[in-house]
Symmetry: C2
Subunit: 427 residues, 2 copies
Amino acid sequence: MPLDPNLKSRILQAVEDGFAEQVSFTQKLVQMPSLRGHEHAIQDLLFRSLQSRGYAMDRFKMDRAAIEAHPGGSKYSDDHSDAPIVVGIHRPRDERGRSLILQSHLDVVPEGPHEMWTTPPYEPRIEDGWMYGRGSGDMKAGLAGAMYALKALTREGWQPAADVFLQSVVEEECTGNGALACLARGYRAEAALIPEPLGDSLIRAQLGVMWLQIKVQGIPVHVAYAGSGSNAIDAAFVLIQGLKQLEVKWNAQRSGQPHYADHDHPINFNVGKIEGGDWASSVPSWCVFDLRVAVYPGDDLAARRAELEDCIRDAASQDAFLRNAPPQVTYHGLMAEGYILQNADEAEAVLGRAHRAAYGAELPIVATTATTDARFFGLYADTPGLVYGPLSDAIHGFDERVNLESVRQNTQAMALFIAEWCGLEEL
Amino acid sequence: MPLDPNLKSRILQAVEDGFAEQVSFTQKLVQMPSLRGHEHAIQDLLFRSLQSRGYAMDRFKMDRAAIEAHPGGSKYSDDHSDAPIVVGIHRPRDERGRSLILQSHLDVVPEGPHEMWTTPPYEPRIEDGWMYGRGSGDMKAGLAGAMYALKALTREGWQPAADVFLQSVVEEECTGNGALACLARGYRAEAALIPEPLGDSLIRAQLGVMWLQIKVQGIPVHVAYAGSGSNAIDAAFVLIQGLKQLEVKWNAQRSGQPHYADHDHPINFNVGKIEGGDWASSVPSWCVFDLRVAVYPGDDLAARRAELEDCIRDAASQDAFLRNAPPQVTYHGLMAEGYILQNADEAEAVLGRAHRAAYGAELPIVATTATTDARFFGLYADTPGLVYGPLSDAIHGFDERVNLESVRQNTQAMALFIAEWCGLEEL
């Protein structure tokens, strides 16, 4: 049932009133360089924050066996995070509304060379209405937003009339295993919302993503005796060229994809990392590169992997060096299916109203070429996974930033969404 | 004056007699992983060995200012070795013969992934007449050979009747600044011999070599929004493709080169090392690669550098990403001119006789597509720089090895060369 207009404006105002504190808390989060494997301190900070706000707390280690056995699980690699997952649990006195998971990830991607940043990546500054810093958008602002949306209700003397699970996860950027760990632990709700910074829009569709690592190894010699085609770095490039042709082919298949047919280039193959060789004057014997590929919703990942491996094999068979040194392919990270949000009419209607009240505009609905943890809810728990977060810029880039006006409105919309979805009871 | 046949066979036998000890000493050297910057311990070992054999010792730090001011000097980089140079000096009672520098380098190139070695690179093993190990050929066997050639003379009651300088240098593999440091310190002789493992042949010509580091830097984004051509790793490959065309062009110029006209492919451009990006799902903002190029003897290095830079600029101007992120070129290592051994008739004649006596065959004379420290003697000190060392295999590669029969014969030839070049006096 739509919210009472008076309650609505009190909630909007309560978010306003808490916004300075929310921004300051967000800055505190951005100050922590919570790179993969280094999220221990920030998860502890979250644990203490949620505990002090009265949530029942669950802090647990990801269950590797359960994750790797799950169809949505990604393989562990040596650099898999060992940080705990933190869940703050609100239980109502009287369970009358619909339960909700509010999930955010606190892992951030590497910030790259610091000299490319205007100001240091972990010293969040605010300028012209934007907060800058690695993780500001992706997605510490979203996590703080969810917490302060709930706090706004409290400030007005209310609390949700249903279970609410505030989940702070890790590993979103590389496997999704943090979100999956919550599922594996048994957490369920009638809807899930992830405030990823995708521009004040609801995400209708997201792509699947796989990470590959391709290793070329062969026999090096002194460069003075280099025959052509015996260089592992050159050979890696041959493979990359072959893969780029496959990228073209996969993009051409978009016409069959309702949510991506109109997109120019939905499928991005990205060589995100490369390393090879030890010495300028030695023909390099090894080269390793990391590739991120996207696939369409509904695609069978095993079939796509077979295509990738065939492509690599074909490229290798045409190269003198690679014929004698067949590349090794490993899947060392994300193994994510695509996802289309469906059977979410009620949740969408509630979010639509909340958005309209906060932004004074209709809720835009978009398809993203990225993946998010929302897939786990939809694909493996029959739960609508809504992705809806503030406007950001340069996520994964330099001078990443999040728009504070958008954060404010997004927090207001979240507060209204919670109020209507879960219902309210007096404190 | 050719050696007395009886003396000759006594010297040959003396090398035989000392050979087991020589092999054992060589193994001791190969056991030490004297990678760039890590040659302190091995230089100390050399210092003590030479000192205990009665040489006057000079151990000194390379003079950076003198080196960088020298036309043959290579720029220091952060990983330049700080190890000392060691010189053992023999002075005769009566200086009747011709003085000689016997120079070797003890730095080795990185061994690469150990799993590619049949047995560990720093645990020298002997099998079927070969000694295996990083640095066995390049060039610890040569250094030991020079020392045991002198020791063979001693064993027979003789010593050179001229100054002999046993120079153990570093930085050969990356700059040549170790050899240059000896020159800068004032060491001179009437000939120099470097027992580099170039297959029982005298080197008539060697190429020049330059090291470049090329850095591409640009603006990264989340891969979901990757536009084409915004990837620093892809951009680096655009540059590499351009450079490969220049390599073809330079090879075509070999017809004007007396020592290289018949060579299939004298000029090798080698991308020996590459590194770029931080994260599979971020479009990489940076990529750095190391390039080794060769030039012909007599080439003007500055003109060749200009060609390289023009080539890189041209390639960059045709690429959307590189136009906005012009690559930076630095010269961070070898800056070596080519060298042709000339005005060395007397030394060659003496070496020819020594070789014939040791191998029972004529001395082969070859042009190499590598560089060696011999250039310093010829180009900057008007001294014939002879390069003549044993047969090796897979230098800079896996399972590097040196042929022990060749080492034995090469040591015999060196002993005979020293005896005739320097003359002998009784101990």
